[in-house]
């Protein structure tokens, strides 16, 4: 107290002035025509982040792809060699997040967001929940059988070789890369062109909900 309190008392009028100045400044920047952040445009207007995430500049797209594609691939491979279930789930989380950003690079924004909401928010929590319900100690590990490892290695390497052959050996018919699709278009298509699959999926979700609840319910005499 003492010195500070006196300073404040002395400074009170000045303080009010400064406060007024702050409010005035903020109000001025508040004027609608001063477009600081985005210039009022959407994604197609460009900008650093949309260049990286929207892939409109080749350099940015390459950087984004190698960064997040690399992360996705690395963490996917890390899942294979992790024994701790929770660690596996966290690596899966990294993969899913990176894939979501890849969707952004592919200008599928809606899909990218849904990927995060459904996977990171839903499925992953479900998985960790499952782990917690079914694990005896926080760091329980399953020994990996040598046979399983060998079989997995052989199968996946063969598969990978085959896929690579297919990917690199085929001359894909390529058109012009398409831009982003408005969510409204996607929504309209879901309820017109894809109405039947959409409804089928809805029914499936209902069935799954009932089925999961039935399976997970506590048995009582």
């Amino acid at each position: 107290m003492g010195a500070n309190g006196e300073t404040v008392t002395v400074l009170k009028p000045q303080l009010k002035l400064i406060l007024a100045a702050v409010i005035a400044c903020m109000a001025m920047t508040a004027a609608p025509r001063v477009a600081m952040a985005s210039g009022g445009g959407g994604l197609d207007e460009g900008g650093f982040v949309s260049d990286v995430l929207g892939g409109s500049h080749p350099l940015f797209e390459a950087v984004g792809f190698y960064l997040f594609g690399g992360l996705a691939a690395f963490s996917a491979i890390a899942i294979c060699f992790t024994k701790d279930v929770v660690r596996m789930a966290i690596w899966l989380f990294a993969t899913l997040g990176a894939v979501a950003i890849l969707y952004f690079l592919l200008t599928a924004y809606f899909l990218g967001v849904i990927q995060i909401i459904v996977y990171a928010g839903g499925t992953l929590v479900l998985l960790i929940f499952g782990v917690m319900l079914t694990t005896k100690s926080p760091s329980m590990q399953f020994a990996v059988s040598k046979i399983g490892l060998a079989a997995g290695g052989v199968v996946s390497l063969l598969l990978f070789a085959a896929l690579m052959g297919l990917v690199l050996g085929t001359d894909w018919q390529r058109g012009e890369p398409t831009g982003s699709i408005p969510v409204a278009t996607l929504g309209r298509d879901l309820l017109t062109t894809y109405l039947v699959p959409f409804e089928v999926i809805s029914v499936l979700l209902l069935v799954v909900m009932i089925g999961a609840a039935y399976l997970a319910r506590q048995e009582r005499e």
């Binding site: 107290m1 010195a3 500070n4 300073t7 404040v8 400074l11 303080l15 400064i18 406060l19 100045a21 702050v22 409010i23 005035a24 400044c25 903020m26 109000a27 001025m28 920047t29 508040a30 004027a31 609608p32 025509r33 001063v34 477009a35 600081m36 952040a37 985005s38 210039g39 009022g40 445009g41 959407g42 994604l43 207007e45 900008g47 650093f48 982040v49 949309s50 260049d51 929770v86 989380f93 997040g97 924004y109 809606f110 967001v113 849904i114 995060i116 909401i117 990171a120 928010g121 839903g122 929590v125 479900l126 960790i128 929940f129 917690m132 926080p138 760091s139 408005p182 969510v183 409204a184």
Partner: protein, 470 residues
């Protein structure tokens, strides 16, 4: 002679790496240099810095308008800087504010000393102390998860600012899916909490993580549905469009658009408390049951990162409520209500007129003020209500809120279909709901005013002397 025969053991000096030594040295010397100034002009420097920062950003914004690069790099860098600075200052302010609010609710003063005027520098001092604390990782913890968890919690909530509008043009990235990005980021935050709880390898933290997972699966569905109501009313996921649709004055705010929206706004607010782990839904860290829940093993800067995340998330859910239900960045005044003589000055094309528009008709300042008001309500609720139990959380979210939200969704759909914007029913509803809320607000103001009049009486007959610094 003391009664203790054991001599004092000389304490070990902390083992600091070269970088840490450098950081400590720099911090000490900066503090040493700044101390005399800080001591003399405490609040003036703070407000001066804020004012200078705002003016600076404003100037650079004007400059960047003039020299836009091909990829708008400067603009984006500026925006990122501004948004991160803003996000970083929310906890600094809100933690101090929360302590003051709590103190006032509990008839005490709260922080009064650090910095001078009402202890404004309290959270900065706390931050410095927390940075200086030893970074402890329990021996049995999963060190990687333990260290990673605070960042997984903090980064998503800052990313959510990317699509959170402060004004019609004050948005970092105006995306079609802006709302969903924010919802997604709030969902990712949960993963960090679960990682922290699991990685600490303590039974209390695991309980905290389990509760967070439980709570998340129960609140997210009603929360998602309540967000759908404004979306289906406006027909867009774009937050700027939703905000712009409410610019026509107080009664056009979406919360007053129909009874269903009004209830949905309240329900969203309840679920948003659960989403940022605020009382009465602070079960993951319920300090009287689980010691500190998922935070039990954390200390120092990692602990404070969780708090950063919590306060930023508080702001984000409040801002989302403002954009979706309470008029966004527009003020309660409709441009149509401006009389002609005033409009001549107000709609002129000069800096003063723009400033007046920003104040009267709406702009970022309204958005921030409204959001912080809702943050204040969160604090108010926290310091008033007891904590509910985990089974009651699940019950209220899944068995009460979820059916309610489904009914509201159907009701709102039918309302949009059958009640035209300009019909009598819509008008009456708008006016009734908005005036109801307005009267409630006036009533609250009256109560506060009366309490201020009776201020001395409230303290009690045997009250001690007023604290210094008040």
């Amino acid at each position: 002679m003391t009664q203790f025969s054991t001599p004092w053991v000389e304490r070990n000096k902390p083992n600091l790496s070269a970088i840490e030594k450098l950081m400590v040295g720099v911090a000490m010397s900066v503090a040493g240099l700044a101390a005399p100034i800080l001591r003399r002009f405490p609040a003036a420097i703070f407000f001066g810095a804020v004012a200078g920062g705002v003016v600076g950003i404003y100037l650079v914004a004007l400059l960047s308008e003039a020299f836009l690069g091909e990829y708008h790099l400067l603009r984006d860098i500026l925006a990122v800087t501004g948004v991160s600075l803003f996000a970083a200052h929310i906890p600094l302010f809100a933690i101090w504010w929360e302590r003051k609010v709590a103190a006032r609710i509990q008839s005490r003063m709260g922080p009064m000393r650090v910095g001078g005027w009402h202890g404004w520098a309290q959270s900065m001092a706390d931050g410095i102390k927390l940075i200086a604390k030893e970074d402890l990782v329990p021996a049995a913890a999963d060190a990687a998860l333990f260290r990673l968890a605070p960042y997984v919690t903090l980064i998503p909530v800052v990313i959510a600012f990317l699509t959170l509008p402060f004004g019609a043009h004050w948005i970092f990235r105006n995306m079609d899916v802006g709302l969903l990005v924010i919802v997604a980021m709030l969902g990712v935050e949960v993963v960090g909490v679960i990682m922290a709880g699991w990685g600490s390898n303590s039974k209390w933290t695991v309980y905290g993580a389990m509760r967070e997972a439980c709570q998340m699966v129960s609140y997210e569905i009603p929360m998602g549905i309540s967000l759908l109501l404004p979306v289906l009313t406006i027909g867009s996921l774009n937050l700027v469009q939703i905000g712009d649709a409410q610019a026509g004055g107080w009664h056009t705010w979406l919360a007053f658009q129909s009874p269903f929206m009004f209830v949905a706004a309240v329900a969203y607010y309840i679920t948003s408390l659960a989403s940022c782990k605020r009382a009465p839904f602070d079960l993951p860290e319920s300090e009287s049951e689980l010691v500190a829940g998922f935070l039990t093993e954390y200390s120092g800067i990692r602990w404070s990162l969780f708090f950063f995340a919590e306060y930023v998330a508080m702001y984000i859910v409040a801002a989302l409520a403002v954009v979706l239900f309470f008029g966004g960045w527009s003020s309660p005044i409709s441009p149509e209500w401006i009389p002609d003589w005033m409009g001549r000055f107000l709609f002129a094309d000069n800096a003063a007129a723009r400033a007046a528009q920003g104040l009267i008709l709406g702009g970022p300042i309204w958005m921030v003020v409204k959001s912080f008001f809702l943050v204040f309500v969160q604090m108010w609720v926290r310091w008033t209500l007891p904590r509910i139990r985990i089974d009651q959380v699940l019950y209220s979210c899944i068995q009460v809120l979820l059916p309610l939200m489904l009914v509201l969704l159907i009701g709102q759909t039918l309302w949009v279909l059958w009640v035209p914007e300009d019909s009598l029913l819509a008008m009456v509803t708008r006016i009734a709901l908005s005036s109801f809320t307005g009267l409630a607000g006036l009533g609250a103001c009256w109560i506060i005013f009366k309490a201020r009049l009776k201020k001395r009486a409230l303290v009690g007959v045997l009250a001690v002397e007023q604290l210094p610094g008040a």
